[in-house]
């Protein structure tokens, strides 16, 4: 089973290398991080590398849009694309189980996101730390390390969600539409909806809302990621909108990390389950 999983994962990763996904995502992440760090202070009338802490908060806000989109685009056609090409049937004629196939593909896609995140953001971090003379700051490396880990997990979450879409539809175009819909809801509509509910029920904010609100954010993986990256940066919470409230609240870094892992596991399990019952 391991040899089969490894073969599928390596093939998926090599496909990512061959069609330039890995390089493109890595470059986007590195440019984004360096650009944000350099041009971030422009509002105050100057440019140049700001501190790593400020950069991480800005990055978290931007990565929340970019990483889910990239992950969804990377993986939305994983199953339905192969089905349309006819190669899925061929794979089924080999002694490969459906679970093995999906997990192998997930490992390959997850590796693409991991390499891109670690290399892209990591390179930028080294560059920024060098210019800001913070190379020796262990605390900042810990924070940036967590940012990279959580960004990777966020990518995995949306790969798993893309799999659920990919095993549930019959056409690639439908999968693409649904993937964009999921992205739009999770990065924009969910927060707006939550804000609307809070405003509409302002009488309850002081009692029920204040306790329930942080947990409602757990329903959206992008908010979990944002909150997790704000927990360690108190001054930035004021600028972080809704999630800033939750970041100062009851959710610990451990709980938020566990929530992200659960957000990877649950859709992946759902995708495996649905794939096992799919008529090809």
């Amino acid at each position: 089973m391991i040899a089969v999983l490894r073969t599928i994962a390596i093939k998926e990763f090599r496909d990512g290398l061959r069609n330039q996904w890995v390089i493109a995502i890595t470059a986007v992440f590195a440019l984004l991080a360096v650009g944000l760090a350099y041009f971030g202070p422009a509002a105050s009338g100057t440019v140049g590398f700001a501190s790593l802490a400020t950069t991480i908060v800005s990055l978290a806000s931007l990565a929340v849009f970019l990483i889910p989109l990239i992950a969804l685009l990377l993986a939305y056609d994983t199953v339905v694309g192969e089905q349309e090409q006819g190669t899925l049937l061929l794979l089924f004629s080999y002694p490969i189980g459906r679970t093995e196939l999906l997990l192998g593909k997930f490992a390959g896609h997850a590796l693409i996101m991991t390499v891109a995140t670690v290399v892209g953001f990591g390179t930028a971090a080294v560059l920024i730390a060098t210019f800001t003379h913070e190379l020796g700051s262990l605390e900042l490396w810990r924070e940036f390390g967590y940012f990279i880990v959580s960004a990777t997990l966020l990518g995995w979450v949306f790969i798993a969600i893309a799999y659920v879409i990919s095993v549930s539809v019959a056409e690639k175009s439908t999968a693409a539409g649904l993937a964009l819909g999921v992205w739009f809801v999770s990065v924009i509509v969910f927060d707006l909806g939550l804000l609307g509910v809070l405003v509409a029920t302002r009488g309850a904010v002081g009692t029920l809302g204040r306790e329930v609100f942080p947990y409602l954010l757990l329903l959206n993986p992008t908010d979990v990621f944002r909150v997790a990256n704000l927990v360690g940066f108190e001054p930035a919470r004021n600028y972080a909108g809704l999630v800033g409230i939750a970041a100062g609240g009851a959710l610990s870094l451990g709980a938020l990390s566990a929530a992200l892992v659960a957000w990877v596991a649950a859709p992946l399990a759902l995708a495996v389950w649905r794939f096992g019952r799919k008529e090809i």
Binding site: A3, T7, I10, K11, R14, D15, P95, I96
Partner: protein, 311 residues
Amino acid sequence: MSMALSVRGLTKTYANGHRALKGVDLDVAQGDFFALLGPNGAGKTTLIGIISSLVNKTSGKVWIFGKDIDTEFADARTHIGLVPQEFNFPVFEPVIEVVVNQAGYYGMDRRRAFARAETVLQQLGLWAKRRTTSRNLSGGMKRRLMIARALMHEPDLLILDEPTAGVDIELRRSMWDFLRRINADGTTIILTTHYLEEAESLCRNIAIIDEGVLVENTGMKQLLNRLDTETFVLDLARPLDAPPPIGGHTVRLIDETTLEVEIHKREGINGVFCRLTELGIEVVSMRNKANRLEQLFVDLVNGGGRARDVR
């Protein structure tokens, strides 16, 4: 005798109501070189699709080396190597990756897979092209890559669906030699082809399927022995105006220097030449008109009505 493939009561009805297979029973012995023939749309590809788990059957049972494809599917699939008609490898992958990945799908670790790849690619004359992207191979090389890929996990049963379609004669013959060699080494081979001389030359046993039913399943020799007549084409040194009278034989003048003579198996060909010599007709060359199997095939399949489907 141990069977490489056993099929019992196999039926397939597609969603549109088309009955592609109507209760097929078939046995292929271990070590056999077996031809599965039939006109277009007869059910060959459906039958191969079910055997190799590409198509779901409606009813019936299939065993590969005694393994039920329903209950022991992983074991059953491990025994099969399939060479489909269409190229279906990833075109942007180098040759070596295509074959090594294939081995990995069957659980072979990469070190062993690379060693096996070298052997198979050497045998098929593709080793020098191992780093070439698959889409840059010639048509013949792509055909050989399909065979190499199917052989990577050392299958006991190799199924080839028209492996030489569109391949030039030189390459076709080298592929025949290769297939004969691996069959002699113990691999059971099932071949579908439209080139009937290919089936006649390679296969020991034959099944002919038409409209979802096996209309023949016998030894190649037994089948060919059923032929009563053979037709010869004679190229003449000088033109003729009309077919010459050769007693007891049907003679046709195809063009002014080409004569077609039908000869019964019981009679020798010498009599024809004696008579032609008496008439002063000089023959410069002679060949068998049609492949013998082709004649039988046409007879068996709808009384010749589908001859147009056979190349």
